[in-house]
């Protein structure tokens, strides 16, 4: 399935999932789908890239041109609403800036997929779509910190290494992590590509067990 085939329901569910507004069972289902559906995963990642642009999170990790087009899309959003012909009308309203942000997000998504290439889009759009990054960080509700950012494949290796150097030195100085031994070191390995995505039934079951244990 590609983004042009994606149903409005799928997009709406994805948007809700990103906002942490789906229940646990629906969330688990989406996680499994995301793990197996490349295009849905690309959409998910573009959503986060755009959110990062809008929130200035890790903006240095996102292509400047991409952020510029996000802002342009926000500017055009009023016009799209005025003629009430937006094909993005399925997206549910959100408060304040989030409305514009989400609509802009989908506008860019559509441009990126070539679905609604306008006169100003064109060849730039496809490379952006191709920049879709691997799925890393599904919203798992209770298991996920509120501030969880999405890792971008384009993230500079040097930044990761420097961040890990900070953490490595921190752990070396603090010794045993307040008695918890090696546990403090685990995040250094977890951010590698070794982790299983949550498509494995065992993973889902383990996560659900963790949730129910609360």
């Amino acid at each position: 399935m590609n983004p042009t085939d994606m149903t409005n329901d799928s997009r709406e569910n994805l948007s809700s999932f990103m906002d942490g507004e789906v229940d646990k069972s629906a969330g688990s289902f989406l996680v499994r789908r995301l793990a197996n559906d490349d295009d849905l995963r690309s959409t998910w990642n573009r959503y986060h890239m755009i959110r990062d642009c809008l929130h200035q999170q890790d903006a240095h990790l996102v292509h400047d041109d991409f952020c510029s087009r996000v802002r342009q899309a926000i500017d055009q959003e009023d016009l799209q609403e005025a003629d009430n012909k937006s094909p993005l009308g399925w997206i549910k309203p959100m408060a304040g800036a989030a409305i514009a942000a989400s609509v802009a997000l989908l506008a860019i998504l559509s441009v990126g997929s070539g679905q609604q290439a306008g006169p100003d889009s064109g060849p730039q759009a496809t490379p952006l779509a191709a920049q879709a990054v691997p799925f890393v960080s599904p919203n798992m509700g209770n298991l996920m910190p509120d501030s969880q950012p999405v890792n971008l494949a384009g993230q500079r290796a040097s930044e990761q290494e420097k961040a890990k150097a900070y953490l490595l030195r921190h752990y070396q100085v603090t010794g045993d992590g307040a008695g918890q031994g090696f546990v403090a070191l685990v995040p250094i390995l977890v951010t590698s590509d070794n982790a299983l995505q949550a498509d494995n039934p065992e993973v889902v079951a383990t996560i659900q067990e963790a949730e129910s244990a609360q």
């Binding site: 890790d58 240095h60 960080s137 298991l143 910190p145 752990y171 070396q172 250094i188």
Partner: protein, 322 residues
């Protein structure tokens, strides 16, 4: 025979008495865990879940006449491991054998005392024992460490009932929601440990300069050039390294602040430092990193604490007035 029976009874009573003490006192369980994790040899496989991802890892921790050695490695996927021994720590990642080495940090803490457990008595955490459950074919005693504010995380620990070794670990936010979970599926102790696992993964590697300073440095007082002027209640400076040059000639300052359970590191380095550390907030697993520029230096705060904490600490950092 009577002497033997007496000795056996004495040992039994002593054991029962120690178990009773541990059973009644959460603080004692916390101390037992710290001792067990550092002074015992153990080896096992565990799963780690955070952010909807799961990874299986293996830990080998050995204490013998050669000191403490540790190897933490991923079980599947691209090779990734952290090795710690008397020469320092090395992070090895990927099939291209990239490695980041950090020689052992050898500087005394100017606060030469352990503050572990301090916060358990000072009101920043509440300790409470929970029910036992079976984990990795062993009995685990639950110990909850509940943070009283949003500046630190809480923990739920399941400790092996005989040794105090960690069997399961959960990182919780203030609402008790699980941010990450680690659980052993298999655990060996003492003579059961396969020492050969420590040697695996050692090979010729390409070293990546970490940019961090190496070698010893003199301890300094709290009157260093830079410091954090805001800390969460209960935090205090536990280590401070005078500004020193690393092998790349970079002047670097590193301080550690802790409440006895949670800790953060403050790094101050020149803005022209190599490697783009980026600015603002980043996450590395459950750790948060916040960097900002000020007065031609890059201030970075790192720790396994909420984003709010690293950000507020970093924003408060400034140079001491002469």
């Amino acid at each position: 025979m009577k002497l033997l029976a007496f000795c056996a009874s004495a040992v039994l009573l002593l054991g029962l008495s120690l178990q009773t003490i541990a059973g009644d006192d959460p603080q004692h369980w916390l101390e037992r865990m710290g001792a067990a994790m550092n002074q015992m040899s153990y080896q096992g496989t565990f799963i780690y879940i955070a952010g909807g991802r799961m990874e299986t890892m293996r830990i080998t921790h050995v204490i013998d006449e050669n000191g403490s050695r540790e190897r933490l490695s991923s079980v599947s996927g691209p090779r990734s491991e952290v090795v710690r021994d008397q020469s320092g720590m090395r992070w090895i990642s990927g099939e291209d054998e990239a490695v980041m080495a950090d020689p052992i940090v050898n500087w005394p803490m100017f606060l030469d005392q352990s503050i572990r457990g301090l916060s358990a008595h000072s009101g920043y955490y509440q300790l409470k024992l929970g029910d036992q459950k079976r984990i990795a074919e062993r009995i685990g005693q639950r110990l909850d460490i509940v943070a009283i504010d949003n500046y630190r995380y809480g923990y739920s620990l399941w400790l092996e009932s005989d040794s105090g070794l960690l069997l399961q670990w959960q990182l919780n936010d203030q609402n008790g929601e699980i941010l990450a979970k680690l659980e052993f599926t298999e655990l060996k102790m003492g003579s059961e440990v396969d020492m050969s696992e420590l040697k695996r993964g050692h090979s010729e590697t390409r070293q990546i300069a970490s940019g961090l300073p190496v070698g010893a440095a003199k301890p300094v007082s709290e009157r260093s050039n830079w410091k954090a002027y805001w800390l969460p209640p209960g935090f205090r400076m536990t280590a401070n390294r005078a500004p020193s040059q690393n092998t790349l000639g970079i002047i670097f300052q590193h301080q550690v602040y802790s409440d006895g359970i949670a800790s953060v590191s403050l790094y101050v380095e020149p803005l022209n430092v190599e490697a783009g550390a980026g600015l603002g907030l980043r996450e590395l697993g459950t750790s948060h990193i916040f960097s900002r520029k000020t007065n031609d230096v890059l201030v970075t705060v790192v720790g396994d604490v909420p984003a709010l904490t690293v950000e507020k600490i970093a924003e408060s950092v400034s140079q001491n007035q002469p």
